[in-house]
Amino acid sequence: MRAGAEERPVVEIRNLAKSYRRGDQVVQVLRDINMDIPAGDFVALMGPSGSGKSTLLNLIAGIDTPDSGELRVDGTDIGGLSEADLAAWRAAHVGFIFQFYNLIPVLTALENVELPLLLTGLSRAERREHAEAALAMVGLSDRLEHYPSELSGGQQQRVAIARAIITDPTLLVADEPTGDLDRASAKEVLDLMDRLNDELGKTIIMVTHDPHSAERAHHLKHLEKGVLAD
């Protein structure tokens, strides 16, 4: 694991708690989480199934809201944002990389990458230019007009990474990004994430079960039964 990242925390979490209701039961998923993630860091969240790592990632990414505690990302208290404000905030500050890529099957690679830019004021030509550049960065310049079904798993995940970085977000969140890939493809994706972190200084938070993937991160955070273990 490597060290070295700017010291100013991009993610500040204080006394964070989250619970879910399952029927009549309330399940406490996260409790008293305190954590700082500096800008430019690459953090891996690990832990057994049900430990709350995906829930924590969702909270940091603004796709779920905490019950209590403070959650600041890039200075914004996202726990206090309305749903509409949170959507706008996500569009501007978060890039998502999912385990199953979550590409839109009826759109080409170029159109999938271009999708988040529809929420910006860019012209069609500008959007296309940016999307081509992002796909070039992930090594898929020759697959612009291919549909997801015409791409391998590794290629689809690289398209998803291009989509995640197209808006130049503050934060990249990845939920098991290599979980559906063979070893070679997983290595390609992790190399790419390394490059995004090293060369572009992107802050990356990755949930993973895989120790090999976790080794690429600068810091490891372990969750056990909803509590940070280290």
Binding site: S54, T55, N58, A61, I63, D64, A84, A87, A88, R90, A91, A92, F96, F98, N102, I104, P105, V106, L107, E111, E114, L115, P116, L118, L119, R124, R163
Partner: protein, 385 residues
């Protein structure tokens, strides 16, 4: 790449399912259009009625005649500009299934009151010269192959015996909605024969057709005519031609209402089918909607996608259904022969078909759009399409 483009691509994602839904819509919109056209055909006589023509008939019932002498008395009522007469004949051409309306009319006045029946001048002269002559409508002539000079035998039912007529002219309609399925012959020919065979039934007419100077005089003139014959042996009932025609429609109103209900039921059924299709579609794409929401797209964008897809399918089916209504209505009208004298797909029917398609498209999308916009991202991302 806009939401419309994405909606259309989504619509084409499951081609078989979309194709079958579009097919269902085509059938429903076509059936709706045809049934509405049948209803319109019922009202065609009333719709094409002139507002300067009144009909005077026996007040007791249409089956009782009026004395022919009434014609001259009616002519003298202020506001009346012309009077003619017509008598239902009810003959059978070869067999009962060959139904078409036959009227004994006063040839010198009748066609002046109905300028929408266009008869070539030479044919009219020929008709006036021949007391056994007849004028037939274009639709009737086409249906039975009648040509000028043909002899048409009719077996009388109200007036027994076999009657022979010679086709002396074929009339066309001045407008698309003009009834050209009728058969007209000389009232004198009927009356002279009746005088010999049933003298007590002679010198009568079924109705008098009254032309008035202006539409606004209708109520006043009708009242004057009926007062003229008050307390006579045959009291009269005078009404506008439209009211007279609607009286016939009223006799079968229950059937018309049933047809209307069925036409709307067809739309309701396809709405249920379409709503089910859209609900399945939206459920399969829960994960995509969650992804789009994660990327920052709001409920409005998701609703546009779903409404766009639903409307694209509904409009494809609707447009094809409307386009097919015309040839199918033509084929149906030909098959029905002269049962429906006027069978035209009206502009109102086309509008109603378009509105029905739009309503189906919109209504089917409401529930899926609401559900999609309420998808919780974290749960939606776990959904399996």
């Amino acid at each position: 790449m806009e939401s419309v483009k994405l909606a259309i691509r989504n619509a084409l994602r499951h081609r078989l399912r979309t194709g079958l839904t579009v097919l269902g819509l085509i059938v429903a919109i076509l059936a709706f259009g045809l049934l509405q056209t049948v209803v319109d055909a019922w009202y065609a006589g009333a719709e094409s009625a002139s507002n300067t023509r009144l009909i005077t008939r026996n007040a007791i019932s249409l089956v009782f005649p009026l004395p022919i002498t009434y014609r001259d008395k009616i002519r003298r009522v202020p506001g009346v500009t012309a009077v003619s007469l017509a008598n239902w004949f009810g003959g059978v051409y070869i067999s009962e299934k060959n139904f078409f309306p036959q009227f004994a009319v006063d040839p010198t006045t009748y066609f002046k009151l109905y300028p929408e029946y266009l008869v070539p001048e030479e044919q009219m002269k020929s008709f006036l010269r021949d007391r056994k002559g007849a004028i037939v409508g274009r639709k009737l002539a086409d249906a039975y192959g009648f040509k000028v000079g043909d002899v048409v035998p009719l077996r009388g039912t109200i007036y027994p015996g076999t009657w022979s007529f010679v086709v002396r002219g074929i009339y066309d309609g001045a407008e698309k909605g003009t009834d050209t399925s009728q058969f007209f012959f000389h009232w004198d020919y009927l009356n002279e024969t009746v005088k010999r065979t049933a003298p007590r039934r002679a010198d009568n007419t079924g109705i008098c057709i009254v032309q008035i100077a202006a539409p606004e005089l209708a109520a006043e003139v009708a009242g004057d005519i009926d007062r003229e014959f008050k307390n006579s042996l045959a009291e009269t009932l005078t009404e506008t031609e439209k009211a007279f025609q609607l009286g016939f429609v009223a006799m079968t109103e229950a059937l018309v209402i049933a047809i209307r209900i069925v036409s709307f039921l067809v739309i309701f059924i396809i709405l249920a089918v379409m709503a089910n299709t859209m609900a399945m579609t939206a459920r399969e794409r829960t994960s995509e909607y969650a992804t789009l929401k994660a990327l920052g797209f709001g409920p409005g964008f998701l609703s546009r996608l779903i409404f766009g897809e639903s409307l694209a399918i509904a409009l494809a089916g609707g447009m094809a259904g409307i386009a097919l209504t015309f040839p199918v209505a033509d084929a149906f009208a030909q098959r029905m022969g002269t049962l429906f004298p006027v069978f035209n797909v009206s502009r109102e029917t086309i509008w109603m078909q378009m509105v029905a398609a739009l309503v189906v498209g919109c209504a089917a999308a409401i529930v899926p759009a609401v559900r999609a916009s309420r998808v919780r991202i974290a749960e939606g991302l776990r959904a399996i399409g």
